[in-house]
């Protein structure tokens, strides 16, 4: 398969109707339920900067978070895809319990999410991979232009949304994105995949103030002491493991952290 097809088969149309009507109640596979609706999320314009009032309390469980940038369909996709990339296992929590989808949602309304950190002047010409990213899109655009087509593709091929697929099927889709076999609109799957993988790992390990790394559990797993930043007496302890757990930055408002510099 080389690209998503947009031809409407009756079967797909049926599923799509189900998809449009039922997205808000479909999820639940990871959290038990999700209660937010499109109406709520659309109230936030993607361009609206996040201010202290809308900033979530990062001490709240990630599962109670209502996305501010993504709609329900997109957010559900993120929950499932991020969890496949960074799954829960014997080492510790996966992406969802760490709040990675919340982290990614919050990052969208920052200068980074809006693409303001990238050189995005045209013309835009494709070239060899080594010459780097050449699309006109911000991170917001990359997610917005890709998640729904991935779901459409899943409906075409499996008659189900991404979130309804088995883990193995989800992994297959992610692999075909990673190796560039799939592409959606003009976005090669591997570009989207790298964006998703990078943001997932950022969310697992950034300071909890950004909404991921819930309760510093990402750092605990890695044995990383966070913001301690003082190893005067631990420069060389002959390979012993560092004895102290992590500390994080004092809570400060999301808006302040993301103001850019």
């Amino acid at each position: 398969m080389t690209s998503s097809q947009h031809t409407h088969t009756p079967k797909a149309a049926l599923s799509r109707r189900r998809f449009m009507e039922g997205a808000a109640t479909l999820g639940g596979t990871l959290w038990g339920n999700t209660s937010h609706t499109h109406a709520e999320t659309e109230a936030h314009s993607p361009q609206q900067p996040l201010n202290a009032q809308t900033a979530p309390n990062i001490h709240d469980l990630p599962s109670s978070y209502k996305p501010q940038f993504f709609n329900d369909e997109e957010y559900l996709f993120l929950e499932h895809a991020c969890e496949r990339i960074f799954p829960q296992d014997s080492h510790g929590p996966g992406a969802c319990a760490l709040g990675v989808p919340r982290f990614i949602d919050l990052q969208m309304n920052t200068p980074y999410g809006r693409g303001e950190l990238w050189y995005l002047k045209g013309p835009f010409i494709n070239g060899p991979a080594e010459l780097g990213y050449q699309l006109p899109y911000s991170p917001q655009d990359l997610y917005r232009r890709t998640i729904t087509p991935i779901n459409t593709h899943c409906l075409m091929t499996h008659d189900a949304l991404f979130v309804e697929l088995s883990s193995a099927q989800q992994d297959d889709i992610l692999s075909s994105l990673e190796n560039g076999q799939l592409h959606f609109n003009d976005i090669p799957g591997n570009i989207f995949f790298e964006q998703l993988r990078t943001n997932t790992l950022e969310g697992a390990f950034a300071d909890p103030a950004y909404g991921g790394n819930y309760d510093m559990n990402g750092w605990q797993m890695m044995g990383f002491p966070g913001a301690r930043a003082d190893f005067m007496d631990w420069i060389n302890q002959n390979g012993a493991s560092y004895p102290l757990g992590p500390v994080s930055m004092p809570p400060s408002s999301q808006a302040e952290l993301n103001e850019g510099d």
């Binding site: 990339i85 296992d89 980074y112 990238w118 780097g132 390990f205 750092w219 913001a227 930043a229 560092y242």
Partner: protein, 602 residues
Amino acid sequence: MAENSHTSSTATSPKPDVLIIGAGWAGSIMAKELTEAGLSVTMLERGKDHSTAIEGTYPKSIDELRGAVRKRLFQKLAHSSLTIRNKPDQVALPYRQLAAFLPGEGVGGAGLHWSGCHFRATEDDLRLRSNTIERYGKTFIPEDMHLQDYGVTYQELEPFFDKAEKIFGTSGQAYTVNGRIVGQGNVFAPDRSDHFPLPAMEDTYSASLFRKAAAKVGYNPYSIPAANASQPYTNPYGCQMGPCNFCGYCSGYACYLYSKASPNVNILPALRQNPRFKLITQANVLEILLDGDRKKATGVRYVNTQTLTEHTLTADLVILTAFQLHNVHLLLTSGIGQPYNPADQSGTVGRNFFYQTITSSRVWLPKNTFSNQFVGAGGAGVAIDDFNQPGFDRGPAGFIGGSPLWVNQAGVKPITAAIGAGGKGKARWGHTYKTEMIEQYQHSLGIEAHGSNMSYRDVYLDLDPTWRNAYGQPMLRMTFTWKDNDIRMNQYVVNKLQDIANEMGATRTQLNSLQYGQAFDSRIYQTTHLGGGAVMGDSPTTSVVNRYLQSWDVSNLFVIGSSAFPQGMGYNPTGLVAALAYWSAHHIRTSYLANPGPMVQA
């Protein structure tokens, strides 16, 4: 003292004697030297003011997402970037996301967020062409390689290497001082007139393993000279540093402890008090202005990046210290000198552009041993120069150049570690990835081959025909890829690692080297050690500046930075950038000012 001195220029400001473009290491050194000489100096910086008291406040300064990941202290690409291609027959495309290299922006330049490995160049580096010919004959130099001498000797630069180390508060261990063996420093290092101002940094566990193993295999390990303070220090300018605690947030961050040398900590506090010194921030210089016969600079034209208004300033002397890439860019946009043309090899501006080869290999330790990679200081570590030193016989190996091998554990943070893990046949996500990534973080360590890269006929900088910066100027275009000589060198040196790794008790080793035919990949961080393009030398047909870093074309313009290096060396560049700045300033003070005009007859 006041941390910020945002000043806005007005047409009525008195004309300064000197204009300096760029407030990084080179600019700050020149400003200090020239104000000491009694001149009035205005320094223009495109970015914001930066100071430890603000950018360096704990804990916001050590936030990995904000720091090394979102790259808050680096060049704002949205305003200005450059284009890159591997070969002259390709269309160069914009560098849209910071990755391979991270130029600085704002007061301090990249000197605010560098790591601090602080080396001197050797006589061999400075006389590479002559030494190679004397040793191996002219035919040993590949036909397309532009090997050149700097036109200045180690003996001439030694006092300025020494001065830079004292200003930077560099920690290290000498081998010889005035010809006498004084300690267990690098046996291959050139002789010194004095000790390092501070004792060497301690070894992290990983570095100590490397030191023991390398010695056992028969090599000569030494402590990397580090511009991270091993003890409290006050430099000759009266600027103070506190001891480094190996916080691990060095490379890409402002040091919150005043321990890493930076223009902001080591020079600017003294400069800012001087009434003859003025700093204008958020002033992006667009052009160096010339007089009618284009032989004299009259001043600069700059844009205030906040108001987008343009201003002109005049001065008798202009010093260009905007970093290697931007030095070349400004020469090209100002029409100074002749742009290099690879077709007939005419012109010099943009010629002899080069980079740094670097590959990182990995050693895994037993699972009961923790490498604690988050501990570290940017310049600290243990290196061997056995395959970089002048005496190493390149003849049988068939390459020019060389590479130290080192463990330079500068503090590995989890986002970067997680993103970099996997690949090369290993999972990059999912269950297996997670297990292997955590193991890699806790029980492995990196060893780098940080080597030279030569200059070549078809590797150069010029102006891009298509893409423009926010001020409507054509952006710089980089034509660069890896070449066989440097790949051969890298592979040769990396292959020496296996014995050391075995001796370290590796349970697994992954050796990474450059591969023949591999194109330079702008998506992967290498180093910010870019060089050449406005090189120094003894002839205006092959260099842009003379041995005093004075423009051959415009005698009241000096161009200072790694842009002056004719080809790369195995070491990091800043020790030589600083020494060349002090060398040039010394000759401006002792000779040029009394007798302005060309200091070397073309």
